[in-house]
Protein backbone atom coordinates (compact mmCIF):
# COMPACT_ATOMS: atom_id res chain seq x y z
CA UNK A 1 0.00 0.00 0.00
CA UNK A 2 1.87 3.04 -1.23
CA UNK A 3 0.21 5.45 1.08
CA UNK A 4 2.79 8.11 1.75
CA UNK A 5 3.63 9.60 -1.58
CA UNK A 6 7.26 10.56 -1.83
CA UNK A 7 7.18 13.64 0.34
CA UNK A 8 9.64 15.05 2.77
CA UNK A 9 8.52 14.22 6.28
CA UNK A 10 5.15 12.81 7.10
CA UNK A 11 2.03 14.38 5.67
CA UNK A 12 -0.58 14.28 8.42
CA UNK A 13 -3.33 15.99 6.43
CA UNK A 14 -6.36 14.01 5.37
CA UNK A 15 -5.71 12.32 2.01
CA UNK A 16 -7.24 14.02 -0.98
CA UNK A 17 -9.25 12.95 -3.98
CA UNK A 18 -10.76 9.50 -4.38
CA UNK A 19 -9.18 8.17 -1.19
CA UNK A 20 -10.95 10.80 0.86
CA UNK A 21 -14.21 10.43 -1.06
CA UNK A 22 -14.28 6.63 -0.81
CA UNK A 23 -13.58 6.81 2.91
CA UNK A 24 -16.44 9.24 3.40
CA UNK A 25 -18.79 7.12 1.31
CA UNK A 26 -17.90 4.09 3.45
CA UNK A 27 -18.61 5.95 6.69
CA UNK A 28 -21.86 7.26 5.27
CA UNK A 29 -22.93 3.74 4.27
CA UNK A 30 -22.27 2.45 7.79
CA UNK A 31 -24.43 5.18 9.30
CA UNK A 32 -27.06 4.49 6.63
CA UNK A 33 -27.08 0.82 7.67
CA UNK A 34 -27.99 1.85 11.20
CA UNK A 35 -30.69 4.21 9.95
CA UNK A 36 -32.12 1.38 7.85
CA UNK A 37 -32.56 -0.61 11.05
CA UNK A 38 -34.07 2.23 13.08
CA UNK A 39 -36.80 2.91 10.51
CA UNK A 40 -38.60 -0.46 10.68
CA UNK A 41 -38.04 -0.62 14.44
CA UNK A 42 -39.61 2.78 14.92
CA UNK A 43 -42.38 1.94 12.46
CA UNK A 44 -43.30 -1.28 14.30
CA UNK A 45 -43.15 0.26 17.76
CA UNK A 46 -45.16 3.29 16.65
CA UNK A 47 -47.88 1.15 15.06
CA UNK A 48 -48.15 -1.24 17.99
CA UNK A 49 -48.30 1.58 20.54
CA UNK A 50 -50.71 3.71 18.49
CA UNK A 51 -53.12 0.87 17.75
CA UNK A 52 -52.67 -1.00 21.01
CA UNK A 53 -52.94 1.93 23.43
CA UNK A 54 -56.45 2.80 22.30
CA UNK A 55 -57.82 -0.63 23.20
CA UNK A 56 -55.86 -1.53 26.32
CA UNK A 57 -57.76 -1.00 29.53
CA UNK A 58 -58.00 -2.73 32.88
CA UNK A 59 -61.03 -4.59 31.64
CA UNK A 60 -59.18 -5.64 28.46
CA UNK A 61 -56.38 -7.18 30.49
CA UNK A 62 -58.44 -8.84 33.21
CA UNK A 63 -61.80 -9.56 31.58
CA UNK A 64 -62.84 -12.91 30.18
CA UNK A 65 -63.69 -14.89 28.18
CA UNK A 66 -61.98 -13.86 24.95
CA UNK A 67 -64.95 -12.86 22.77
CA UNK A 68 -65.69 -14.36 19.34
CA UNK A 69 -63.88 -12.69 16.47
CA UNK A 70 -66.96 -10.90 15.16
CA UNK A 71 -67.43 -8.98 18.42
CA UNK A 72 -66.21 -5.37 18.35
CA UNK A 73 -63.42 -4.17 20.60
CA UNK A 74 -64.49 -3.46 24.15
CA UNK A 75 -66.29 -6.73 24.76
CA UNK A 76 -64.72 -9.33 27.02
CA UNK A 77 -61.01 -9.34 27.72
CA UNK A 78 -57.74 -11.17 27.27
CA UNK A 79 -57.28 -12.44 30.82
CA UNK A 80 -57.05 -16.11 29.68
CA UNK A 81 -54.13 -15.23 27.40
CA UNK A 82 -52.38 -13.04 29.96
CA UNK A 83 -52.76 -15.73 32.62
CA UNK A 84 -51.57 -18.43 30.21
CA UNK A 85 -48.48 -16.47 29.19
CA UNK A 86 -47.54 -15.79 32.82
CA UNK A 87 -48.10 -19.40 33.92
CA UNK A 88 -46.37 -21.06 30.98
CA UNK A 89 -43.39 -18.72 30.95
CA UNK A 90 -42.94 -18.99 34.73
CA UNK A 91 -43.04 -22.78 34.58
CA UNK A 92 -40.59 -22.86 31.67
CA UNK A 93 -38.25 -20.58 33.63
CA UNK A 94 -38.52 -22.94 36.58
CA UNK A 95 -37.35 -25.84 34.38
CA UNK A 96 -34.76 -24.15 32.23
CA UNK A 97 -32.94 -21.75 34.52
CA UNK A 98 -31.79 -24.15 37.28
CA UNK A 99 -30.89 -26.86 34.76
CA UNK A 100 -29.16 -24.35 32.52
CA UNK A 101 -27.10 -22.97 35.40
CA UNK A 102 -26.15 -26.49 36.50
CA UNK A 103 -25.22 -27.37 32.93
CA UNK A 104 -22.97 -24.32 32.75
CA UNK A 105 -21.46 -25.29 36.12
CA UNK A 106 -20.59 -28.64 34.59
CA UNK A 107 -19.03 -27.02 31.51
CA UNK A 108 -16.97 -24.58 33.51
CA UNK A 109 -16.23 -26.20 36.88
CA UNK A 110 -16.27 -29.93 36.22
CA UNK A 111 -15.81 -30.62 32.52
CA UNK A 112 -12.66 -28.55 32.18
CA UNK A 113 -10.94 -29.11 28.85
CA UNK A 114 -12.36 -32.62 28.37
CA UNK A 115 -13.99 -33.69 25.12
CA UNK A 116 -17.40 -34.14 26.73
CA UNK A 117 -17.55 -30.55 27.99
CA UNK A 118 -16.38 -29.34 24.57
CA UNK A 119 -19.10 -31.40 22.87
CA UNK A 120 -21.84 -30.22 25.24
CA UNK A 121 -20.74 -26.60 24.86
CA UNK A 122 -20.71 -26.89 21.09
CA UNK A 123 -24.07 -28.64 20.95
CA UNK A 124 -25.64 -26.01 23.23
CA UNK A 125 -24.61 -23.42 20.66
CA UNK A 126 -26.08 -25.57 17.91
CA UNK A 127 -29.26 -26.12 19.93
CA UNK A 128 -29.89 -22.37 20.09
CA UNK A 129 -30.33 -22.61 16.32
CA UNK A 130 -33.00 -25.33 16.39
CA UNK A 131 -36.17 -23.76 14.94
CA UNK A 132 -38.80 -23.10 17.59
CA UNK A 133 -41.45 -24.87 15.49
CA UNK A 134 -39.37 -28.06 15.65
CA UNK A 135 -39.41 -27.81 19.47
CA UNK A 136 -43.19 -27.64 19.23
CA UNK A 137 -43.32 -30.75 17.05
CA UNK A 138 -40.92 -32.53 19.43
CA UNK A 139 -43.03 -31.87 22.53
CA UNK A 140 -46.15 -32.76 20.54
CA UNK A 141 -44.64 -36.16 19.67
CA UNK A 142 -43.18 -36.96 23.04
CA UNK A 143 -45.76 -35.45 25.41
CA UNK A 144 -48.99 -34.18 23.86
CA UNK A 145 -49.73 -37.42 21.99
CA UNK A 146 -49.63 -39.30 25.31
CA UNK A 147 -50.86 -36.79 27.89
CA UNK A 148 -52.85 -34.25 25.89
CA UNK A 149 -52.61 -30.49 25.52
CA UNK A 150 -51.60 -28.50 28.60
CA UNK A 151 -49.73 -25.45 29.78
CA UNK A 152 -47.12 -27.90 31.06
CA UNK A 153 -46.44 -29.12 27.52
CA UNK A 154 -46.02 -25.52 26.37
CA UNK A 155 -43.64 -24.91 29.26
CA UNK A 156 -41.59 -27.95 28.22
CA UNK A 157 -41.28 -26.58 24.69
CA UNK A 158 -40.29 -23.09 25.88
CA UNK A 159 -37.93 -24.64 28.43
CA UNK A 160 -36.16 -26.60 25.67
CA UNK A 161 -35.68 -23.32 23.79
CA UNK A 162 -34.39 -21.47 26.85
CA UNK A 163 -32.05 -24.18 28.15
CA UNK A 164 -29.13 -23.70 25.72
CA UNK A 165 -29.46 -19.91 25.95
CA UNK A 166 -29.19 -20.02 29.75
CA UNK A 167 -26.27 -22.49 29.57
CA UNK A 168 -24.37 -20.23 27.21
CA UNK A 169 -24.95 -16.95 29.04
CA UNK A 170 -24.16 -18.52 32.45
CA UNK A 171 -21.06 -20.19 31.04
CA UNK A 172 -19.79 -16.81 29.80
CA UNK A 173 -20.29 -15.34 33.26
CA UNK A 174 -18.62 -18.22 35.13
CA UNK A 175 -15.57 -17.84 32.88
CA UNK A 176 -15.15 -14.30 34.20
CA UNK A 177 -14.91 -15.37 37.86
CA UNK A 178 -11.22 -15.16 38.78
CA UNK A 179 -9.55 -18.42 39.72
CA UNK A 180 -8.05 -16.87 42.84
CA UNK A 181 -11.54 -16.86 44.39
CA UNK A 182 -11.89 -20.61 43.84
CA UNK A 183 -8.36 -21.29 45.07
CA UNK A 184 -8.88 -19.20 48.21
CA UNK A 185 -12.00 -21.16 48.98
CA UNK A 186 -10.35 -24.52 48.38
CA UNK A 187 -7.49 -23.46 50.62
CA UNK A 188 -10.01 -23.10 53.44
CA UNK A 189 -10.96 -26.74 52.93
CA UNK A 190 -14.28 -26.30 51.13
CA UNK A 191 -15.53 -29.05 48.86
CA UNK A 192 -16.01 -28.39 45.17
CA UNK A 193 -19.80 -28.21 45.46
CA UNK A 194 -19.46 -25.76 48.31
CA UNK A 195 -16.97 -23.61 46.40
CA UNK A 196 -19.33 -23.54 43.43
CA UNK A 197 -22.49 -22.77 45.36
CA UNK A 198 -21.15 -20.32 47.92
CA UNK A 199 -18.33 -18.60 46.03
CA UNK A 200 -18.42 -18.99 42.25
CA UNK A 201 -22.17 -18.64 41.60
CA UNK A 202 -22.65 -15.65 43.96
CA UNK A 203 -19.70 -13.92 42.30
CA UNK A 204 -21.35 -14.26 38.90
CA UNK A 205 -24.97 -13.85 40.00
CA UNK A 206 -25.54 -10.49 38.30
CA UNK A 207 -24.63 -11.78 34.87
CA UNK A 208 -26.46 -15.06 35.39
CA UNK A 209 -29.72 -13.35 36.39
CA UNK A 210 -29.52 -10.88 33.53
CA UNK A 211 -28.84 -13.66 31.00
CA UNK A 212 -31.77 -15.63 32.38
CA UNK A 213 -34.08 -12.60 32.17
CA UNK A 214 -33.15 -12.10 28.51
CA UNK A 215 -33.87 -15.77 27.83
CA UNK A 216 -37.27 -15.37 29.51
CA UNK A 217 -37.98 -12.27 27.42
CA UNK A 218 -37.29 -14.21 24.23
CA UNK A 219 -39.36 -17.19 25.38
CA UNK A 220 -42.36 -15.10 26.44
CA UNK A 221 -42.80 -13.92 22.85
CA UNK A 222 -42.51 -17.34 21.21
CA UNK A 223 -45.58 -18.63 19.41
CA UNK A 224 -44.46 -21.56 17.29
CA UNK A 225 -43.65 -23.95 20.15
CA UNK A 226 -47.05 -23.28 21.73
CA UNK A 227 -49.26 -23.88 18.70
CA UNK A 228 -49.33 -27.68 19.04
CA UNK A 229 -48.75 -27.91 22.78
CA UNK A 230 -51.37 -25.71 24.46
CA UNK A 231 -54.02 -25.32 21.75
CA UNK A 232 -55.69 -21.92 21.72
CA UNK A 233 -58.91 -21.61 23.70
CA UNK A 234 -61.02 -18.66 24.79
CA UNK A 235 -61.56 -19.36 28.48
CA UNK A 236 -59.07 -19.10 31.31
CA UNK A 237 -57.50 -22.34 32.48
CA UNK A 238 -55.85 -21.74 35.85
CA UNK A 239 -54.60 -25.35 35.99
CA UNK A 240 -51.31 -25.19 34.15
CA UNK A 241 -50.77 -28.95 34.40
CA UNK A 242 -53.73 -30.16 32.41
CA UNK A 243 -56.16 -29.11 29.75
CA UNK A 244 -55.74 -26.77 26.81
CA UNK A 245 -55.00 -23.14 27.54
CA UNK A 246 -53.98 -20.06 25.58
CA UNK A 247 -51.31 -17.37 25.55
CA UNK A 248 -50.81 -13.84 24.24
CA UNK A 249 -48.64 -14.84 21.25
CA UNK A 250 -50.96 -17.62 20.10
CA UNK A 251 -53.93 -15.28 20.52
CA UNK A 252 -52.24 -12.66 18.32
CA UNK A 253 -51.45 -15.33 15.74
CA UNK A 254 -55.03 -16.55 15.51
CA UNK A 255 -56.47 -13.01 15.44
CA UNK A 256 -54.00 -11.57 12.92
CA UNK A 257 -55.59 -13.26 9.92
CA UNK A 258 -59.18 -12.40 10.89
CA UNK A 259 -61.01 -9.94 8.66
CA UNK A 260 -62.98 -8.51 11.63
CA UNK A 261 -61.71 -5.22 13.03
CA UNK A 262 -62.64 -6.28 16.56
CA UNK A 263 -60.36 -9.30 16.35
CA UNK A 264 -57.57 -7.21 14.81
CA UNK A 265 -57.90 -4.57 17.52
CA UNK A 266 -57.60 -7.25 20.18
CA UNK A 267 -54.50 -8.55 18.40
CA UNK A 268 -52.91 -5.06 18.55
CA UNK A 269 -53.80 -4.76 22.23
CA UNK A 270 -52.28 -8.18 22.92
CA UNK A 271 -49.19 -7.23 20.90
CA UNK A 272 -48.68 -4.10 22.99
CA UNK A 273 -49.09 -6.11 26.20
CA UNK A 274 -46.61 -8.71 24.98
CA UNK A 275 -44.03 -6.16 23.89
CA UNK A 276 -44.41 -4.39 27.22
CA UNK A 277 -43.74 -7.65 29.06
CA UNK A 278 -40.67 -8.38 26.91
CA UNK A 279 -39.28 -4.86 27.29
CA UNK A 280 -39.80 -4.83 31.04
CA UNK A 281 -37.86 -8.11 31.30
CA UNK A 282 -35.13 -6.68 29.08
CA UNK A 283 -34.85 -3.47 31.08
CA UNK A 284 -34.76 -5.51 34.29
CA UNK A 285 -31.88 -7.47 32.80
CA UNK A 286 -30.02 -4.22 32.05
CA UNK A 287 -30.57 -2.93 35.57
CA UNK A 288 -29.33 -6.19 37.07
CA UNK A 289 -26.27 -6.10 34.81
CA UNK A 290 -25.51 -2.52 35.74
CA UNK A 291 -25.97 -2.93 39.49
CA UNK A 292 -24.94 -6.44 40.38
CA UNK A 293 -22.21 -7.43 37.95
CA UNK A 294 -18.86 -7.61 39.67
CA UNK A 295 -16.97 -8.90 36.67
CA UNK A 296 -17.63 -7.90 33.12
CA UNK A 297 -15.96 -8.30 29.78
Amino acid sequence: MAVIAGQQGIDLREPKGWRRTSNRIATFLMVLAFVLVIIPLGFVLFTVIAKGASIISWQFLTGQPIPPNVEPAGVGGLWPAVLGTIEITALATLFAVPLGILGAVYLNEYGGRGWLAALIGFMSDVMTGVPSIVMGLFIFSIWVLHFGYSGLAGAFALGCLMLPVVIRSTDEMLKLVPNSLREGSYALGATKARVTVTVVLPAAIGGIVSGALLAVARAAGETAPLLFTILTVTTANPNVFSGPTTSLPSQIFSNATQPYTGAQDRAWGAALTLIAICFILMIAARIVTARFSRYSR
Binding site: A224, F253, A271
Partner: protein
Protein backbone atom coordinates in the same frame (compact mmCIF):
# COMPACT_ATOMS: atom_id res chain seq x y z
CA UNK B 1 -33.67 -35.52 44.59
CA UNK B 2 -32.09 -36.12 48.02
CA UNK B 3 -28.69 -35.30 46.54
CA UNK B 4 -29.90 -31.79 45.87
CA UNK B 5 -30.58 -31.07 49.50
CA UNK B 6 -27.24 -32.55 50.48
CA UNK B 7 -25.46 -30.20 48.14
CA UNK B 8 -26.93 -27.38 50.19
CA UNK B 9 -24.08 -25.37 51.69
CA UNK B 10 -25.71 -25.59 55.11
CA UNK B 11 -25.56 -29.40 55.04
CA UNK B 12 -22.88 -31.02 57.20
CA UNK B 13 -21.11 -32.38 54.10
CA UNK B 14 -18.76 -29.41 53.93
CA UNK B 15 -17.70 -29.63 57.55
CA UNK B 16 -15.44 -32.68 57.09
CA UNK B 17 -11.85 -32.32 58.21
CA UNK B 18 -9.99 -30.07 55.76
CA UNK B 19 -7.42 -32.72 54.96
CA UNK B 20 -9.96 -35.52 54.54
CA UNK B 21 -9.44 -36.76 51.01
CA UNK B 22 -12.75 -38.59 50.66
CA UNK B 23 -15.33 -36.59 48.73
CA UNK B 24 -18.51 -36.24 50.74
CA UNK B 25 -21.72 -37.63 49.31
CA UNK B 26 -23.24 -34.19 48.71
CA UNK B 27 -20.21 -33.14 46.73
CA UNK B 28 -20.41 -36.16 44.47
CA UNK B 29 -24.16 -35.74 44.16
CA UNK B 30 -23.72 -32.16 43.01
CA UNK B 31 -21.14 -33.22 40.42
CA UNK B 32 -23.52 -35.85 39.07
CA UNK B 33 -26.38 -33.36 38.98
CA UNK B 34 -24.26 -30.89 37.02
CA UNK B 35 -23.14 -33.58 34.59
CA UNK B 36 -26.74 -34.72 34.09
CA UNK B 37 -27.85 -31.16 33.31
CA UNK B 38 -25.08 -30.82 30.77
CA UNK B 39 -25.95 -34.15 29.17
CA UNK B 40 -29.59 -33.02 28.96
CA UNK B 41 -28.65 -30.91 25.92
CA UNK B 42 -27.39 -33.95 24.04
CA UNK B 43 -30.33 -36.06 25.22
CA UNK B 44 -32.89 -33.50 24.00
CA UNK B 45 -31.22 -33.19 20.59
CA UNK B 46 -31.17 -36.98 20.14
CA UNK B 47 -34.77 -37.29 21.35
CA UNK B 48 -35.91 -34.59 18.89
CA UNK B 49 -34.38 -36.54 16.05
CA UNK B 50 -35.83 -39.90 17.15
CA UNK B 51 -39.38 -38.94 18.15
CA UNK B 52 -40.13 -36.62 15.24
CA UNK B 53 -38.70 -39.12 12.73
CA UNK B 54 -40.88 -41.83 14.28
CA UNK B 55 -43.99 -39.68 13.89
CA UNK B 56 -43.03 -38.87 10.32
CA UNK B 57 -42.16 -42.41 9.28
CA UNK B 58 -45.44 -43.11 7.47
CA UNK B 59 -44.75 -40.12 5.18
CA UNK B 60 -41.27 -41.34 4.31
CA UNK B 61 -42.47 -44.93 3.72
CA UNK B 62 -45.64 -44.22 1.73
CA UNK B 63 -44.21 -41.44 -0.44
CA UNK B 64 -40.60 -42.54 -0.76
CA UNK B 65 -38.68 -40.18 -3.03
CA UNK B 66 -41.96 -38.52 -4.00
CA UNK B 67 -41.55 -36.34 -0.90
CA UNK B 68 -39.27 -34.25 -3.11
CA UNK B 69 -41.87 -33.63 -5.81
CA UNK B 70 -43.83 -30.44 -6.26
CA UNK B 71 -47.24 -31.88 -5.56
CA UNK B 72 -48.91 -30.83 -2.31
CA UNK B 73 -52.57 -31.72 -2.23
CA UNK B 74 -53.71 -33.02 1.16
CA UNK B 75 -57.26 -33.60 -0.15
CA UNK B 76 -55.89 -36.00 -2.78
CA UNK B 77 -53.29 -37.51 -0.42
CA UNK B 78 -50.42 -35.98 -2.38
CA UNK B 79 -47.61 -34.83 -0.11
CA UNK B 80 -44.64 -33.62 -2.15
CA UNK B 81 -42.73 -30.99 -0.23
CA UNK B 82 -40.50 -29.46 -2.90
CA UNK B 83 -42.37 -26.14 -3.09
CA UNK B 84 -41.82 -25.61 0.66
CA UNK B 85 -38.12 -26.37 0.42
CA UNK B 86 -37.94 -23.94 -2.50
CA UNK B 87 -39.75 -21.28 -0.47
CA UNK B 88 -37.46 -21.75 2.53
CA UNK B 89 -34.37 -21.32 0.36
CA UNK B 90 -35.73 -18.32 -1.55
CA UNK B 91 -36.93 -16.39 1.51
CA UNK B 92 -33.71 -17.14 3.40
CA UNK B 93 -31.61 -15.91 0.47
CA UNK B 94 -33.64 -12.70 0.16
CA UNK B 95 -33.24 -12.13 3.91
CA UNK B 96 -29.49 -12.77 3.84
CA UNK B 97 -28.89 -10.53 0.82
CA UNK B 98 -30.61 -7.65 2.60
CA UNK B 99 -29.48 -8.26 6.18
CA UNK B 100 -25.78 -9.02 5.72
CA UNK B 101 -24.55 -5.72 4.27
CA UNK B 102 -26.58 -3.82 6.87
CA UNK B 103 -25.36 -6.01 9.74
CA UNK B 104 -21.72 -5.89 8.75
CA UNK B 105 -22.04 -2.13 8.23
CA UNK B 106 -23.42 -1.67 11.74
CA UNK B 107 -20.79 -4.00 13.18
CA UNK B 108 -18.03 -1.91 11.56
CA UNK B 109 -19.73 1.29 12.68
CA UNK B 110 -19.74 0.02 16.27
CA UNK B 111 -16.18 -1.29 16.32
CA UNK B 112 -14.28 1.15 14.12
CA UNK B 113 -16.17 4.44 13.91
CA UNK B 114 -18.18 5.54 16.92
CA UNK B 115 -16.66 6.17 20.35
CA UNK B 116 -17.50 3.75 23.17
CA UNK B 117 -20.13 5.94 24.84
CA UNK B 118 -22.08 5.99 21.56
CA UNK B 119 -21.75 2.32 20.82
CA UNK B 120 -23.72 1.19 23.88
CA UNK B 121 -26.98 2.98 22.94
CA UNK B 122 -26.65 1.63 19.39
CA UNK B 123 -26.29 -1.90 20.77
CA UNK B 124 -29.40 -1.31 22.91
CA UNK B 125 -31.38 -0.31 19.85
CA UNK B 126 -30.25 -3.41 17.96
CA UNK B 127 -31.15 -5.58 20.95
CA UNK B 128 -34.58 -3.98 21.02
CA UNK B 129 -35.06 -5.31 17.50
CA UNK B 130 -34.23 -8.80 18.76
CA UNK B 131 -36.75 -8.63 21.59
CA UNK B 132 -39.76 -7.85 19.37
CA UNK B 133 -41.58 -11.19 19.18
CA UNK B 134 -41.92 -13.00 15.87
CA UNK B 135 -45.72 -12.83 16.04
CA UNK B 136 -45.65 -9.04 16.40
CA UNK B 137 -43.50 -8.80 13.27
CA UNK B 138 -46.06 -11.00 11.58
CA UNK B 139 -49.04 -8.95 12.78
CA UNK B 140 -47.40 -5.72 11.63
CA UNK B 141 -46.24 -7.40 8.44
CA UNK B 142 -49.66 -8.57 7.32
CA UNK B 143 -51.82 -5.66 8.50
CA UNK B 144 -49.51 -2.68 7.91
CA UNK B 145 -46.40 -3.51 5.93
CA UNK B 146 -47.81 -5.82 3.21
CA UNK B 147 -50.63 -3.48 2.08
CA UNK B 148 -48.14 -0.60 1.99
CA UNK B 149 -45.38 -2.36 0.09
CA UNK B 150 -47.85 -3.80 -2.43
CA UNK B 151 -47.94 -0.35 -4.06
CA UNK B 152 -44.17 -0.36 -4.37
CA UNK B 153 -44.27 -3.86 -5.84
CA UNK B 154 -46.86 -2.65 -8.34
CA UNK B 155 -44.60 0.24 -9.41
CA UNK B 156 -41.58 -2.01 -9.79
CA UNK B 157 -43.73 -4.58 -11.61
CA UNK B 158 -44.94 -2.00 -14.12
CA UNK B 159 -41.44 -0.74 -14.76
CA UNK B 160 -39.78 -4.09 -15.36
CA UNK B 161 -42.67 -5.76 -17.15
CA UNK B 162 -41.40 -7.26 -20.39
CA UNK B 163 -37.74 -7.04 -19.41
CA UNK B 164 -36.42 -10.63 -19.83
CA UNK B 165 -35.12 -11.78 -16.41
CA UNK B 166 -36.32 -8.94 -14.20
CA UNK B 167 -39.81 -9.21 -15.63
CA UNK B 168 -40.27 -12.77 -14.44
CA UNK B 169 -38.64 -12.12 -11.05
CA UNK B 170 -40.41 -8.86 -10.20
CA UNK B 171 -43.66 -8.90 -12.18
CA UNK B 172 -46.83 -7.10 -11.01
CA UNK B 173 -47.95 -8.44 -7.62
CA UNK B 174 -51.24 -10.14 -6.80
CA UNK B 175 -51.08 -9.18 -3.12
CA UNK B 176 -48.72 -7.71 -0.56
CA UNK B 177 -48.10 -11.13 0.99
CA UNK B 178 -45.29 -12.78 -0.93
CA UNK B 179 -41.87 -14.42 -0.87
CA UNK B 180 -40.31 -10.97 -0.98
CA UNK B 181 -42.34 -9.57 1.92
CA UNK B 182 -41.41 -12.63 3.99
CA UNK B 183 -37.76 -12.10 3.05
CA UNK B 184 -37.83 -8.46 4.15
CA UNK B 185 -39.43 -9.29 7.50
CA UNK B 186 -36.88 -12.08 7.99
CA UNK B 187 -34.09 -9.61 7.23
CA UNK B 188 -35.31 -7.37 10.07
CA UNK B 189 -35.42 -10.35 12.38
CA UNK B 190 -31.95 -11.79 11.68
CA UNK B 191 -30.13 -8.45 11.60
CA UNK B 192 -29.52 -8.40 15.40
CA UNK B 193 -27.90 -11.86 15.52
CA UNK B 194 -25.73 -11.29 12.46
CA UNK B 195 -24.71 -7.87 13.77
CA UNK B 196 -23.75 -9.08 17.22
CA UNK B 197 -21.78 -12.07 15.93
CA UNK B 198 -19.98 -10.00 13.28
CA UNK B 199 -19.17 -7.43 15.92
CA UNK B 200 -17.74 -10.13 18.18
CA UNK B 201 -15.55 -11.39 15.36
CA UNK B 202 -14.46 -7.93 14.20
CA UNK B 203 -13.66 -6.92 17.78
CA UNK B 204 -11.00 -9.64 17.88
CA UNK B 205 -8.83 -7.97 15.23
CA UNK B 206 -5.59 -7.08 17.06
CA UNK B 207 -5.34 -3.35 17.72
CA UNK B 208 -1.71 -3.47 16.61
CA UNK B 209 -2.76 -4.49 13.06
CA UNK B 210 -5.19 -1.58 12.86
CA UNK B 211 -2.72 0.90 14.32
CA UNK B 212 -0.11 -0.38 11.90
CA UNK B 213 -2.38 0.34 8.97
CA UNK B 214 -3.17 3.83 10.26
CA UNK B 215 0.52 4.47 10.86
CA UNK B 216 1.17 3.72 7.20
CA UNK B 217 -1.27 6.51 6.42
CA UNK B 218 -4.28 4.38 5.49
CA UNK B 219 -7.73 5.93 5.55
CA UNK B 220 -10.32 4.17 7.66
CA UNK B 221 -11.71 2.34 4.64
CA UNK B 222 -8.24 1.22 3.62
CA UNK B 223 -7.54 0.10 7.18
CA UNK B 224 -10.76 -1.93 7.20
CA UNK B 225 -9.93 -3.54 3.88
CA UNK B 226 -6.30 -4.19 4.71
CA UNK B 227 -6.35 -5.08 8.42
CA UNK B 228 -9.89 -5.85 9.61
CA UNK B 229 -11.34 -7.72 6.68
CA UNK B 230 -8.64 -10.36 6.08
CA UNK B 231 -8.68 -11.13 9.78
CA UNK B 232 -12.43 -11.42 10.27
CA UNK B 233 -13.64 -12.68 6.88
CA UNK B 234 -14.01 -16.28 8.06
CA UNK B 235 -15.86 -15.36 11.21
CA UNK B 236 -18.26 -13.09 9.34
CA UNK B 237 -19.04 -15.94 6.95
CA UNK B 238 -19.90 -18.04 10.00
CA UNK B 239 -22.13 -15.27 11.36
CA UNK B 240 -23.91 -15.07 8.00
CA UNK B 241 -24.50 -18.83 8.03
CA UNK B 242 -25.99 -18.59 11.52
CA UNK B 243 -28.28 -15.87 10.24
CA UNK B 244 -29.22 -18.16 7.37
CA UNK B 245 -30.11 -20.91 9.86
CA UNK B 246 -32.32 -18.49 11.79
CA UNK B 247 -34.01 -17.27 8.62
CA UNK B 248 -34.84 -20.84 7.61
CA UNK B 249 -36.33 -21.75 10.98
CA UNK B 250 -38.24 -18.54 11.73
CA UNK B 251 -41.89 -19.50 11.65
CA UNK B 252 -44.70 -17.30 12.79
CA UNK B 253 -43.85 -14.04 11.08
CA UNK B 254 -43.36 -15.89 7.80
CA UNK B 255 -46.55 -17.91 8.24
CA UNK B 256 -48.49 -14.66 8.38
CA UNK B 257 -46.88 -12.74 5.52
CA UNK B 258 -45.80 -15.31 2.92
CA UNK B 259 -49.23 -15.69 1.34
CA UNK B 260 -49.74 -19.44 1.79
CA UNK B 261 -49.56 -20.82 -1.75
CA UNK B 262 -47.69 -24.07 -2.39
CA UNK B 263 -46.12 -23.11 -5.71
CA UNK B 264 -42.69 -22.98 -7.28
CA UNK B 265 -42.33 -19.77 -9.23
CA UNK B 266 -39.47 -17.40 -9.98
CA UNK B 267 -41.90 -14.54 -9.35
CA UNK B 268 -40.70 -13.11 -6.03
CA UNK B 269 -43.73 -10.84 -5.60
CA UNK B 270 -46.08 -13.84 -5.75
CA UNK B 271 -47.54 -15.58 -2.68
CA UNK B 272 -45.63 -18.71 -1.67
CA UNK B 273 -44.98 -20.98 1.26
CA UNK B 274 -42.02 -22.27 3.22
CA UNK B 275 -41.37 -25.30 5.42
CA UNK B 276 -41.85 -23.72 8.83
CA UNK B 277 -44.93 -21.77 7.76
CA UNK B 278 -46.78 -24.75 6.29
CA UNK B 279 -46.30 -26.69 9.53
CA UNK B 280 -47.62 -23.78 11.59
CA UNK B 281 -50.63 -23.18 9.37
CA UNK B 282 -51.74 -26.73 8.57
CA UNK B 283 -50.68 -28.96 11.48
CA UNK B 284 -53.78 -28.13 13.52
CA UNK B 285 -56.20 -29.73 11.08
CA UNK B 286 -53.93 -32.58 9.96
CA UNK B 287 -54.11 -36.27 10.80
CA UNK B 288 -52.77 -39.56 9.45
CA UNK B 289 -50.29 -39.29 6.59
CA UNK B 290 -51.00 -35.53 6.34
CA UNK B 291 -49.76 -35.04 9.90
CA UNK B 292 -46.82 -37.37 9.26
CA UNK B 293 -45.93 -35.32 6.19
CA UNK B 294 -45.89 -32.07 8.17
CA UNK B 295 -43.89 -33.80 10.90
CA UNK B 296 -41.50 -35.00 8.19
CA UNK B 297 -41.08 -31.46 6.86
CA UNK B 298 -40.16 -30.58 10.45
CA UNK B 299 -37.55 -33.36 10.42
CA UNK B 300 -36.07 -32.04 7.16
CA UNK B 301 -36.03 -28.52 8.62
CA UNK B 302 -34.33 -29.81 11.78
CA UNK B 303 -31.66 -31.65 9.78
CA UNK B 304 -30.99 -28.68 7.49
CA UNK B 305 -30.74 -26.14 10.32
CA UNK B 306 -28.58 -28.46 12.45
CA UNK B 307 -26.13 -28.91 9.56
CA UNK B 308 -26.05 -25.17 8.82
CA UNK B 309 -25.53 -24.41 12.51
CA UNK B 310 -22.76 -26.98 12.98
CA UNK B 311 -20.87 -25.63 9.96
CA UNK B 312 -21.40 -22.03 11.07
CA UNK B 313 -20.36 -22.63 14.68
CA UNK B 314 -17.26 -24.50 13.55
CA UNK B 315 -16.24 -21.55 11.39
CA UNK B 316 -16.97 -18.98 14.11
CA UNK B 317 -15.18 -21.02 16.81
CA UNK B 318 -12.16 -21.55 14.59
CA UNK B 319 -11.79 -17.88 13.77
CA UNK B 320 -12.21 -17.02 17.46
CA UNK B 321 -9.55 -19.55 18.44
CA UNK B 322 -7.11 -18.27 15.85
CA UNK B 323 -7.36 -14.82 17.34
CA UNK B 324 -6.70 -16.12 20.83
CA UNK B 325 -3.56 -17.81 19.57
CA UNK B 326 -2.37 -14.65 17.85
Amino acid sequence: MSTVTQADPAAPAGSAHPLDQRRPLGDRGFAILALASGLLVLVILVLIAITTTQQASSWFTTEGWKIFTNNWDPAANQFGALSFIYGTIITAIIAIVMAVPVSVGIALLLTEVVPYRWSRPIVYVIDLLAVIPSVVWGLWGILVFAPWIQHIYAHIGNVVQGVPVLGSLFGPPTSGASFFTAGIILAFMITPIVTSLSREVIATVPAIDKEGAYALGATRLEMIRGAVWPHSQGGVVGAVLLGLGRAMGETIAVALVIGSAAVITPHLFAPGYNMAAVIANQFGEASGVFRAALMGIGVLLFVITIIVNIVARTIVDRSARRKRGA
